[in-house]
Symmetry: C2
Subunit: 418 residues, 2 copies
């Protein structure tokens, strides 16, 4: 066989293997999306249960726990119990490690539920524990997005990851607001945190809109223009506005219900996004397999005479494509191999460009998260304050947030004297 | 088994597989380095043969061809004839595609040699043809560097790629200078191209020094301070200085010999670099396999009682590490899994940071190459002029070359009106 063709076919096979792993990963992401949604509800109900000193939401909380457990069993069975080596199913060291970290963190969930049932935790502690678990799940989705080899799938995953992150921040807003209503505590620090959660959500949904397909963008546009968003905005105004309404007996319930309706509407968008993602992987796989079948046909038709790698005549010093007629290889077939090589090279170039765009969005997020962490550790800032410092620096210096974050990280050892 | 541990082990296995592919790729890069060196000599000899109208270097050229062919046979047998699917040996769509492109381009080499033997080509055309082949080889090395998953190996490959690129530019300088001496043609355009080749070499060796290990940097420092470099600088001065000396009968020979001694000295550095690269892959593999063996031992010692993923007790709401003692799992073993998960997470974080540094050097090069290409196509600039335009813009705007290149590429459709 022409060795060039053999390596082209191997390249195609390697792509198919990567797409198969991406298909499995996307399916896992779909499972994660459902599971995160359940844990978010459980977090909200647990919060209300603890904040009301066990007076309310006891039954709802138990129902939420049961729902979460059912999804956990399904996800574990479907995604975390591969028949063979998990590294055949999922691609990449980082994704596998993130899954290991998540599975490890999940070991703590039963005891967390027990402590909540016994009311042995503060609401804030319980919320933080759930949020850490959700963060571990989102980290899996992040790695899935970062390892995607196909630009279309990569864009879809970046959009989805940002949407899930935005929805998680909405969940945190629901929990924090519910706790505030339930305990009738509306200190500036609490209100400030709620403002920060709203801003952070907006940024996530902006990135989502940048990378999502038009159909999903339109779907999200309907939510933004619909009553789900309007009701939440009214509740936010109430919470910040003061007055007797916010301390009424059922103010917390109304907040929770409005926030839940909005989050459920997000869940529908997310559900479409995950289904579209899996369908996209399937489509890419069909396409890649068809390409491979074509090349295998081509290879089968190559005469034995062109063994040895000198199948193609020279094109040096001549622009005439007719010259591409090798010893023992018809001009048509010669052209075909040349076309394949060139088409592949061009496709890789385009793929690289598009992948870069999606991946730089992820890189920026990674840099900002790490710079925030550094500022929090070294300078004792809160997460909000660290983020505000980064954003203000970027605005003053007319630089991108990612650039400022990178500079902060490079200055790491000097940061104490900032 | 604890599913977290199962996924950790899978992550390790996935890393070992990636390192095995990196080992094969590094071995291929070593072969390429030798082969490129032979083709560079063949290019130089062919150039002198053609420029002297077949009067000189006929025997040397034939010897060079035989040497090249011997290396080609060895490389093809060792690296391009894998027993099974090549995508088991080499990782990644892009690397495999680059190899396919190279193998395709190599089909043109026998005819090129024939045309040179018959003196049916201009020296410049022959040099360009060889240079395109070498570029296809360097593209393979570039992809190898870009796909490396280990920061140490990645740095070594980035250093090596830049060194090989610098050596190739030195080879182009040797060929261009030899042709000028042989034909006694020293027009400004020729001299300008030689200056550009020297500048471009310097940039490559700077990046090499940024990424290479101290031992290799020291070795290269000796070459820079040694007679090989001094002689070439004297020859360059002669070539640019004018006068009778540069048109003497054996001026071209002296140029060629001095340039060859320098390139041969580079070859020694490169040889050390490729050997160190392969040794580094071996060391990483030993390390990763030892880690895996440790974890397999750990797994074997896990009692059956901790099946089901709830092996680790909660750490929420408590800072005491003693709490990490799961049902049926001794505290020591519980700690071990936790340690493994945390160590892995930390290592990945570090790896990511270091890989980013190496990969951004490659990304910048990729961007600059593509922006140059765009300017050459759309604005009809020469390669030198395109590069100078990018560099001047970067200097005037106080921006990095890569940023300017990115901006040029983003403006792609508007570039005609630049």
């Amino acid at each position: 066989m022409d060795p060039a063709l053999a390596f082209l076919i191997a390249a195609q096979r390697s792509e198919i293997r990567a797409l198969e792993q991406l298909r499995a990963t996307s399916d896992l992401v779909r499972g994660m999306s459902e599971w995160v949604h359940r844990l978010q509800r459980e977090r909200g109900a647990s919060n209300l249960y603890l904040a009301s000193r066990g007076q309310r939401f006891a039954a709802q909380r138990q129902q939420c726990v049961q729902d979460s457990e059912a999804v956990e069993r399904a996800v574990r069975e479907r995604h975390f119990s591969p028949a063979g080596d998990p590294s055949d199913t999922y691609g990449g060291l980082r994704l596998l490690s993130r899954i290991a970290q998540l599975l490890h963190a999940l070991g703590e969930l039963p005891a967390l539920r027990q402590q909540i049932a016994q009311r042995a935790l503060e609401p804030e502690t319980a919320t933080r524990a759930y949020s850490e678990l959700v963060a571990a799940m989102l980290a899996v989705v992040f790695e899935a997005a970062d390892t995607a080899v196909d630009p279309g799938v990569s864009r879809a995953l970046v959009a989805l990851f940002n949407f899930m992150q935005g929805k998680e921040l909405a969940g945190q807003e629901r929990a924090a607001g519910a706790a505030a209503f339930a305990a009738s505590r509306f200190e500036p620090a609490v209100l400030q945190r709620l403002v920060h959660l709203v801003e952070a959500q907006d940024r996530c949904f902006q990135v989502f809109q940048e990378f999502a397909e038009p159909a999903l963008r339109a779907m999200w546009g309907h939510v933004l223009a619909g009553p789900e968003t309007g009701d939440v905005q009214a509740q936010r105004a109430l919470l910040h506005g003061g007055g007797a309404a916010r301390t009424s007996a059922d103010a917390g319930d109304r907040w929770f219900e409005a926030a839940t309706r909005r989050i459920d509407a997000m869940r529908l968008v997310e559900d479409s996004a995950t289904s579209a993602l899996v369908a996209l992987c399937d489509a890419r796989l069909v396409h890649a397999r068809t390409d491979l079948a074509d090349q295998t046909r081509l290879r089968a038709s190559l005469p034995a005479a062109c063994e040895g790698g000198r199948a193609l005549a020279p094109v040096f010093g001549s622009a005439a494509p007719d010259l591409v007629a090798g010893a023992g290889l018809g001009p048509l077939l010669g052209r075909s191999v040349l076309d394949l090589v060139q088409a592949q090279a061009q496709r890789l170039q385009q793929m690289g460009d598009e992948l870069n765009a999606a991946q730089s969005a992820l890189r920026e997020r990674k840099l900002v998260e790490r710079a925030k962490g550094l500022l929090m550790t070294r300078r004792g800032l809160s997460e909000d304050a660290a983020y505000r410092l980064l954003r203000q620096t970027a605005m003053h210096q007319h630089r991108r947030l990612g650039e400022v974050a990178e500079a902060v990280l490079q200055m790491g050892p000097l940061i104490d004297g900032l």
